[in-house]
Symmetry: C2
């Protein structure tokens, strides 16, 4: 396995034209991460007439950033297939190509998620053996954080895909959470062996018998995500996307109800003011902008949200995520019990 | 269509031996509903040595309740198939049989959900044309409440099942929310036509072309549930169960974080005390015990939770839910565009 090196020099390619706010969130977002990573460098792709003035405010960031000009951008509402066909020379595609050509180790874009997935699949060589990419994110739990994937890249998957997602998630959790043997659960409608759709049960049968860079826990249910029952929650993109967006919705509902309650009358307002500091800590803990690994990094993201995605990219790049995943997937696929589960 | 009658006499069969607390939640739960429904009657099935003393505390409830003794109960952890085979003479089965024999219009049990579904399917004649039962519940939204189904009765469904769930949900929303033409959304991973699994897309194609007792809205995403985008959210039991339990988990996480924040230090405690009244209203709005129609009514329910399930049963019985569903399903299945969607 490749050794990790927290202090190695890492270059991140940034698509400065993605999302609703482009440069306005990309540059301040990058600055938020730069402060904590002295050896970090950026390549910023997009319209230099916009990027240059934005960088003027941050001398230290400017010093470690290279601007690569293009005025072509992928629209947020383009269909992935359309965006892909017309992508040549766009900021998103050029940022991805920087990774392909070895100029950068990771790419971050707040733009069109579907187009980004399609372009990455088309431009980058997939890790050998991995049949499907997955969208991953990090969610807050009672006790810390849970890595969750797939969040919507693949509606239909089979048991083998889910098993690979488990490996991806373990390597991710090791890099992000620093746990040495992450526990992995398969998201399901119950914890009994007989529950759930066939592909989930078949994945469980494989995971019980193979060596992965973590520990297979068994099935978990929706409420286990925020309980922190496991370090990694694996699901197909259908259930994963619905779970994630439902979680966002409930969080937003409760936030709005609370805000309403604490401004309902003068007494409540005073109460809210007195508890402000403690309540802010809760808000920070559940703020989706701080968990912006996957689908959260959509058009509505702001600088803080974008910085979370950049921070994650830096962590994964520093830890040689791709090389480690590649090793672990090779190891997974070479095991007898993977090839013939149940034997 | 059958006319509804809010004041008609309704008898509810209660399984007093279900759940972790049995009689201790069933009797006080029934009392909470009785107060608002003067013509309501109960048949209470279970051990009379437990039920009788519990009823002594509530003279008015005792006066409208008939105890039917049995000391046989279904265990909470029995597998549905096992429970079903050995169910004869159990409180759960006898309560269901009371509905079959016309002595009661609905049955409520806080017991083993899987066993209850299996027994109901086996004992009760299904509504003609309905191929699968569904678990429904009511969830809080920003603007009111959303009816959601299926929450886990059926992992695998087809487009026809989903279409029927849409009809069930509409009739449910009419009875519970009093809306005349409920809007219905299909839970999916995106709102574009081409998104999602085949059975969901096929259901959309049918729903766009048939007459239902509501208005088909289109696809909705996980965050639309609590936004209140539609009156009825329809999904298969796989995604529905995962969404519901994820929502429960996030609600519980935020509740615990808030509680922690408001007891973190004296200032926050004072703040929490001043805002207590407003915060209680929020708590009440999102309290899962108040939305106990479906899977919430499990073993962990308390008297308030049980009373919500009873209240829902009374509403549906008063509104002749079964007859209305039967009419509407007949109407659905007879439409040309149902038989050949897309024509």
């Amino acid at each position: 396995m490749v050794k990790s090196n927290q202090n190695k020099s890492v270059t991140i390619a940034l698509d400065a034209m993605g999302g609703d706010f482009g440069v306005d969130i990309v540059v301040p977002g990058a600055e938020l991460v730069r402060q904590a990573h002295p050896k970090l460098k950026f390549m910023i792709f997009g319209d230099q007439a916009l990027i240059k003035p934005a960088l003027e405010k941050y001398a230290a960031l400017k010093a470690v950033s290279e601007i690569v000009h293009t005025d072509k951008a992928i629209a947020n509402d383009d269909k992935p297939s359309v965006a892909l066909r017309a992508s040549k020379g766009s900021s998103m595609r050029m940022a991805i190509e920087a990774v392909k050509d070895g100029h950068a180790q990771a790419v971050v874009s707040a733009g069109n998620t579907g187009a980004l997935m399609a372009m990455a699949k088309s431009v980058l060589k997939p890790i050998a053996g991995i049949h499907r990419p997955a969208l991953a994110s990090v969610l807050p739990t009672l006790t810390g954080q849970t890595v969750m994937l797939d969040l919507g890249a693949n509606v239909l998957v089979d048991a083998e895909n889910l098993t690979q997602f488990a490996v991806l998630g373990c390597v991710f959790a090791k890099a992000h959470k620093g746990v040495s043997k992450p526990s992995v659960g398969l998201l399901n409608v119950g914890t009994e062996r007989t529950k759930g759709p066939e592909h989930v049960r078949a994945a469980a049968a494989i995971l019980a018998n193979v060596e992965i860079p973590g520990r297979y826990h068994g099935f978990v249910e929706g409420n286990d995500i925020t309980k922190g029952t496991v370090d990694v929650v694996v699901s197909d993109g259908y259930a994963g996307n619905i779970a994630l967006k439902t979680a966002e919705g409930v969080g937003s509902l409760m936030g709005q109800l609370l805000k309403g309650a604490l401004t309902a009358n003068p007494l409540s307002m005073l109460g809210g003011a007195l508890a402000y500091f403690s309540l802010s800590k809760v808000k920070k803990k559940v703020d989706p902008r701080l968990y912006n690994g996957g689908v959260f990094s959509h058009g509505g993201a702001d600088a803080l949200g974008f910085s979370s995605a950049v921070k994650l990219a830096v962590e994964l790049a520093e830890q040689d995520y791709v090389a480690k995943v590649s090793d672990e997937i090779n190891h997974l696929m070479s095991q007898d019990s993977f090839l013939s589960p149940g034997m």
